[in-house]
């Protein structure tokens, strides 16, 4: 049951072998058993989940079932859910019961999926280890001493520990792909603009993109079929023909040209990651693909560029948290300005404040051109690098992270070391390209390793095909941590 694919669960539901209520209860039980040790969920509302499951069973009985009808899905606590606490991992929103549903939540509700709970995350999605959450760190189910990655660490942990069949995440610089890699699951960040940002609490608007996290590429396809779609309430949402992300899964990979950016295979990658990555590439060669070296000459600047642009947008996006209309307000203050300053000083955690300061600084008078504009120009160069690379290949591969999951507390004191764990993922975010991570083995301390797959714009179906063919030949994606 816990290792079943979404398709298998869907079949069992439609064949009435199990009801959505029973399925939901099974996962709720698992969640209640494991969550205390992993802290993957911030809010669980069993009554609500079971009510949704009941409704789903009616839908199924009425023969109106869709692929995800009745299946429990964990929702990252960055997506506003009407009537449910939506904290974004922050004290600032620790009392925020959202009065409306995010576009993504609406889409899951429409197909009758069951919301099994809101997952823990780095505060306002700012972090790569889940240690910045006001609700405490999430543990890596493969090794409680290790971080699960971030910012979608709660979702990654929930899927890896089989507390939920699948989950949603969001990715601004690697927040789906990095935790997926560190927790040994699959996750994809679609092309920017495919998944509605309406009701997805903004970190960096021009980079944020929602996406699914699940065990396999096949599951990701079913999740994308629900999550992707135009939303008129988001000006950056793209109007495109709806596609079935499963349609290319079965295609053979013969003739596939895999681009290997030489910059990503240069030093910096740890040996265990290098070995696993090479093994995965070898498997692809066996599947009929050929690898070609490509170059992303400006990719090494993606971290500096990212840490100018993302904080700049964030510093402005987070100005609305002022203790006036909702959220945290300081208990005592002298006047209006003091109320603002204390509410924000007390409501935000250290990392969020740090990034607000960076962002405010790079936008402030006299530095705008030297930092913000400069970064936007290099952003274009980075995007252009990919366009050039795709003249020689169909898809790009490399490691998702330079190392396996690090220990809790290991990089807390050193923000820069923390930032560098997104070194391979942030470039695709800046370019707006789709990026995916799939499990390809285990390394140091038997911690999972992920393969980073970057596709050209709107080639999600092809990427899932490439991942699925690998997963037909391997079972890394089926491995799950052992619990006593």
């Amino acid at each position: 049951m816990f290792n079943a694919s979404l398709k298998q669960l869907s079949t069992q539901l439609s064949e009435k072998k199990i009801s959505s209520v029973e399925l939901t209860e099974i996962f709720l039980k698992q969640l209640q058993k494991l969550n205390p040790s992993y802290n993957a969920f911030i809010t669980v509302d069993e009554a609500m989940s079971l009510a949704q499951a009941k409704a789903a069973d009616k839908k199924i009985a009425a023969g109106q079932a869709q692929p995800l009808t009745g299946i429990p899905i964990a929702q990252k606590d960055i997506f506003c859910t009407k009537g449910l606490l939506t904290t974004c991992g922050s004290k600032m929103l620790s009392n925020f019961v959202s009065p409306y549903d995010a576009g993504v939540i609406e889409r899951f509700n429409q197909v009758g999926a069951v919301n099994i709970g809101k997952t823990n995350m780095d505060e306002f999605a700012m972090g790569s280890s889940n240690e910045t959450s006001f609700y405490g760190p999430v543990r890596n189910p493969w090794d409680v001493a290790a971080v699960p990655g971030g910012s979608s660490g709660g979702s990654a942990c929930a899927v890896a520990a089989r507390m939920a069949p699948a989950a949603t995440g969001t990715d601004t610089g690697g927040s789906i792909r990095q935790p997926a890699a560190l927790c040994g699951i699959s996750g994809i960040k679609p092309t920017y603009g495919l998944v509605s940002r309406y009701g997805m609490i903004a970190f960096a608007s021009s980079l944020d993109q929602g996406g699914p996290m699940a065990k396999s590429a096949e599951d990701l396809a079913l999740m994308l079929n629900v999550m992707v779609g135009f939303d008129g309430r988001d000006s950056t949402s793209l109007q495109r023909e709806t596609e079935d992300y499963q349609h290319d899964l079965a295609k053979p990979l013969t003739g596939l040209r895999i681009g290997l950016p030489k910059e990503y295979f240069a030093d910096g990658m740890s040996d265990d990651v290098a070995v696993a990555t090479e093994a995965a590439l070898e498997k692809y060669r066996q599947l009929g693909a050929k690898t070609v070296e490509v170059s992303l000459p400006n990719a090494h600047l993606s971290i500096p560029v990212y840490y100018v642009l993302a904080p700049a947008e964030a510093s402005s996006n987070l100005s609305r948290f002022d203790g006036v209309r909702y959220g945290y307000r300081a208990k005592s203050y002298n006047d209006l300005d003091d109320m603002y300053r204390k509410s924000r000083a007390q409501g935000f955690g250290a990392e969020v404040k740090r990034r607000i300061l960076i962002g405010t600084y790079v936008l402030s008078h006299g530095y705008y051109d030297a930092y913000y504009i400069k970064a936007q120009k290099i952003r274009r160069l980075i995007a252009q690098d990919f366009i050039d690379a795709y003249k020689q290949c169909d898809i790009i591969m490399g490691p998702t992270t330079p190392t396996v999951a690090f220990d809790l507390g290991e990089k807390n004191s050193d923000p820069i070391q923390m930032y560098l764990s997104d070194i391979y993922t942030s470039a695709a975010s800046l370019a707006g390209l789709p990026g995916m991570s799939i499990p390809i083995g285990f390394g140091d301390k038997n911690r999972p390793i992920g393969l980073h797959v970057i596709g050209n714009y709107f080639t999600e179906a092809k990427m899932l095909n490439v991942a699925h063919q690998y997963q037909l030949e391997t079972d890394w994606h089926l491995r799950s941590p052992q619990f006593d």
Binding site: N95, F96, V97, P99, Y192, G193, S206, L207, G232, T236, L238, Q239, L301, I303, P304, Y307, S315, S319, D322, G323, V324, R325, Y326, G327, R329, D335, L336, D337, D338, M339, Y340, R341, R344, A345, F348, K353, R354, I356, L357, I358, T360, Y361, V362, S364, Y371, I373, K374, A375, Q376, K377, I378, R379, R380, L381, A383, P415, I416, Y419, A431, G432
Partner: protein, 95 residues
């Protein structure tokens, strides 16, 4: 470039985040490190490059001028820190 304690304080003021001496000097050390990383950008020649502010090269979609929102004040104010007579209350605003 070198960041000064005063510029950190100035930025905290702009961002409306109360910051005491210790926090400011701690932030100074961390921010200085981060800005050294950021400085790497200056090594690239970007003359003639168009800044990229959006991931997709598309233009703004327009909404028809139609009222499609109804009064939800009660719901919205049920989560407000302090309201009275339908107004959000804040410490005196001085003009």
């Amino acid at each position: 470039m070198t960041l000064s304690l005063n510029s950190v304080k100035r930025v905290a003021e702009l961002a409306y985040i109360e910051t005491n001496e210790n926090e400011a000097s701690a932030a100074l050390t961390q921010l200085s490190g981060i800005f050294n990383l950021i400085e790497q950008m200056q090594e690239v020649d970007t003359t003639g490059v168009e800044p990229m502010s959006h991931a997709q090269d598309v233009s703004q979609r327009l909404r028809d001028d139609i009222v499609n929102e109804s009064d939800q004040r009660e719901l919205f104010q049920s989560i407000a820190p302090q309201v009275e007579e339908g107004l959000y209350l804040v410490p005196k605003v001085i003009e």
